[in-house]
């Protein structure tokens, strides 16, 4: 495997130009001071209740997502390129969704095989022909981006259903400002705190026609969901009601919430529950989280749902290899952001190549998520590899494969001091009247040495993500 790209230090171990002021400061900090700040951060996160509740065996234990106090820093020019690529990609994905659920031009053009769409469980025939305000399907997209050994950004995954993690982006910044105010005076870090305002504006902008002062609510599965903190946080920051399915009901194809003063009309639902649970009359009948009849109100155009129902067809791993083609097809542009090279095992030639190189590759199940249902060749035993070989022979269409990436690293404070750990980045792309990306995103870090799995469900942590302002970069260019 090639040597990973370190985001703060060059191969000689010197700080990269944009990191010099921070790294200089970091080197001056005594180890005890850093350790103390980290303990302080943990205590604050507990007190603020930014925790996962773990109910069951060990009563009352609550877990933190580990927070690393060393930020990940991106210079303005790198961010600008990344931002343009993200906006372009999400525009294309929304155009694809609108096309799939209306004219299906891309299928007629034979760019994507029709059975890949129409036979996919993520395709929702209920959405065929339904017109949505602004033609937007994925109002909030979380695009997982990694950097290869040359430092090039590429997209690992598009999350277009109910992407989470943005509250950690916001809270990590608040925490850093509280712990190290002096750093923000020295480094021109682009703010992220306006995210809830942009999101609220976007949600209001997609309200059904005729709703003059639209009421937006956030639909949560409830206080025992692991992402509940984020739901409550966003609702509070936007000043909207945080509702559960039991708080809502549908009458005459319109949605209402039960209030202490009687029913009140709801125009836009920012839902944080999956399609399957939204409406027991249409999807899973045993769901108690959703609202019976919601789909009727939605299809009648009396309520907007963000993200739309059926967006899973565009972030499915079997569709991912086609995204660069979508950019060309819908926007007539060359993609600014590449995919990770991907072999589609449904195609015989690519399958043969993959089967010959299984120990070097990562194989993913197209419907898996969260790091499950996946073979990491270099880390797998012979038996695991043979098991996957059998599964691929039986159902090649269920798998894709990618090279094992040397994810970029960043210095991270671990028990032994500062050490490089692999990281990724999830920027949040908001689509309303225009497409916006708040500078930065959520940086996830694999805290175990050598590990490439950054998912919080599997022991990953997070970092604050700094995008430096252009002014600072200019100043840097002059001094160089």
């Amino acid at each position: 495997m090639p040597v990973p790209y370190d985001e703060m230090l060059d191969p000689a171990g010197a700080p990269r130009a944009h990191c010099r002021p921070y790294y200089g400061w970091l080197r001056e900090q005594p180890a005890e001071q850093l350790a103390r700040k980290r303990t302080e951060a943990d205590a604050l996160f507990h007190r603020l209740g930014i925790t996962f509740a773990v109910y069951g065996e060990n009563e009352g234990t609550e877990r933190l997502i580990p927070f690393d106090i060393v930020p990940r820093i991106l210079p303005a020019h790198e961010w600008q390129r990344l931002e343009a690529g993200l906006k372009q990609r999400v525009r294309a994905l929304n155009a694809f969704l609108a096309d799939v659920y209306h004219e299906q031009r891309i299928l007629k053009a034979r760019l994507v095989p029709p059975e890949q769409i129409l036979c996919n469980p993520q395709y929702r025939p209920e959405m065929q022909g339904v017109r949505l305000p602004g033609g937007i399907y994925s109002h909030i997209a979380g695009v997982d981006v990694v950097r290869d050994h040359d430092g090039n950004f590429c997209v690992l995954e598009d999350n277009l259903r109910v992407p989470s993690g943005v509250s950690y982006m916001l809270e990590n910044r608040r925490m850093m400002m509280r712990l190290f105010p002096e750093l923000f005076a020295r480094n021109a870090v682009e703010p992220v705190e306006h995210y809830p305002d942009v999101l609220h504006e976007n949600l209001k902008s997609v309200a059904p026609a005729g709703a003059t002062d639209p009421t937006v609510v956030l639909l949560t599965p409830g206080a025992y969901n692991s992402a509940y903190f984020e739901h409550a946080f966003l609702a509070q920051q936007m000043g909207i009601e945080l509702v559960e399915g039991q708080d809502l009901f549908v009458r005459d194809a319109a949605l209402y919430m039960r209030t202490t003063r009687g029913p009140e009309r709801v125009d836009v639902v920012y839902r944080r529950i999956d399609d399957d649970f939204l409406d027991p009359l249409t999807f899973r009948a045993d769901s108690t989280l959703g609202v019976p009849g919601l789909l009727t109100a939605y299809r009648a155009g009396h309520v907007s749902i963000a993200n739309a129902i059926g967006t899973g067809i565009a972030d499915d791993k079997s569709i991912y290899p086609y995204v660069p083609d979508m950019v060309r097809f819908y926007l007539d542009e060359e993609p600014l952001l590449n995919n990770v090279p991907t072999w589609v095992l449904r195609r015989e030639k690519e399958r043969e190549h993959v089967l010959a190189h299984l120990p070097d590759l990562v194989v993913k199940e197209v419907h898996g998520a969260g790091g499950y249902g996946m073979l990491i060749g270099p880390a797998a035993s012979r038996a695991q590899i043979e098991e996957f070989r059998g599964r691929i022979h039986a159902h090649p269409e269920r798998y894709i494969a990618q090279p094992t990436l040397a994810l970029s690293t960043s210095p991270t404070l671990v028990a032994q001091g500062l050490a490089p750990r692999h990281i990724d980045l999830r920027p949040f792309v908001l689509s309303g009247r225009e497409v916006t990306v708040v500078p930065g995103g959520l940086t996830r870090v694999a805290l175990t040495e050598g590990s490439l799995v950054v998912n919080s469900s599997q022991g990953g942590g997070t970092k604050d993500t700094w995008v430096l302002g252009p002014d600072w970069s200019q100043a840097r260019d002059e001094t160089l």
């Binding site: 507990h46 603020l48 409550a232 509070q236 009458r251 209402y256 039960r258 202490t260 003063r261 009687g262």
Partner: protein, 313 residues
């Protein structure tokens, strides 16, 4: 406001108030233990408290005979009984967590911190530290109420928080009185002993100085009872609680709440215009029992009208 949000606010404040008053009830026993009393009377005193809280059978199932230490452990620390002090703090916090977007972050952080810190208190606490624990609970409740009054918008959220607080306080004050009346040590015959025992109740309720100012006379069971029931200006008093309850309910009135408002008004009027001697003509404990029943009725009606509306929608 969402009905479910109102429900959580209401229970958040009820549990917090209950925790604080439970600390006061236990504190009264800690103070009584300093008086020269027969061991028999001490046990009967704890038993009376368990009965007035409706927790006597749960206690017996768990511990059998009453001992001061077990009674303290049960009321303060029992993790399996929803009425114990620690469980009340936990419930207050769980309800706050469900509406952390509606209350201010100062309120949430305080309730959360109280809950997190409460984990360090348990049955292994030495006798000498137990008084500090009760003080800590009262202090956290004072702090939370102060932050609530200092930061919470005076809208429906504040009204439902108050409705929970005052309904619970009216109930708890009558239970504290009931426990004292049921305590055979306090039958009013042995005036001197009674005076000190009823003074203990006043001190536990932070009402002793007020009593002196209002009565300038010796402490008697009937005077204490009259003060805690009838004074319109006493924050711990039942009359005051009913006035607050009525005002806050009127502020959130909706299409179906007319009968509830009538009943709270009727109850309030008893205290506003009634004579103490007539209210208690059939005995103080009989009156207190009947009154608690009417509070339960109000609680049920409030739930139906505002908190968990069903059927009508």
């Amino acid at each position: 406001m969402l009905s479910r949000t109102a429900d959580h606010l209401y229970w958040m404040s009820r549990y917090l108030e209950r925790a604080a008053n439970l600390a006061r009830m236990i504190d009264a026993h800690q103070r009584l233990a300093l008086l020269p009393r027969q061991p028999e009377a001490v046990l009967q005193g704890w038993h009376a408290t368990l009965i007035s809280l409706g927790m006597d059978s749960a206690y017996e199932a768990r511990y059998g005979a009453v001992t001061p230490r077990n009674a303290f452990n049960f009321l303060a620390f029992d993790r399996d009984h929803p009425g114990s002090l620690l469980q009340c703090l936990r419930s207050a916090r769980e309800n706050a967590r469900a509406v952390r977007g509606t209350i201010t972050s100062d309120m949430w952080e305080t309730l959360n911190e109280t809950y997190l810190d409460s984990a360090s208190f348990n049955t292994s606490m030495p006798e000498s530290a137990r008084g500090d624990f009760l003080e800590w609970v009262k202090y956290r409740a004072h702090l939370t109420r102060g932050i609530t009054s200092g930061t919470l918008l005076r809208d429906e959220a504040s009204h439902f928080t108050h409705i929970g607080t005052f309904l619970e306080r009216a109930d708890n004050t009558t239970r504290m009185l009931e426990a004292r009346w049921r305590d055979p040590g306090g039958r009013g015959e042995r005036l001197l002993e009674d005076a000190s025992e009823w003074a203990v109740l006043l001190r536990a309720m932070s009402a002793f100085e007020v009593y002196r100012r209002l009565y300038r006379d010796s402490v008697t069971p009937l005077r204490v009872t009259q003060m805690l029931l009838m004074r319109q200006d006493l924050p711990q008093g039942v009359h005051r609680c009913l006035a607050e309850l009525q005002a806050n309910l009127a502020a959130v009135a909706n299409e179906q709440s007319a009968e509830t408002l009538r009943r709270v008004g009727e109850l309030h009027a008893q205290f506003q215009f009634g004579r103490f001697e007539e209210l208690c003509a059939e005995g103080v404990t009989t009156f207190l029992d009947r009154f608690q029943g009417r509070l339960r009725d109000l609680g049920g009606r409030i739930a139906n009208d505002f908190l968990v509306p069903s059927g009508t929608y």
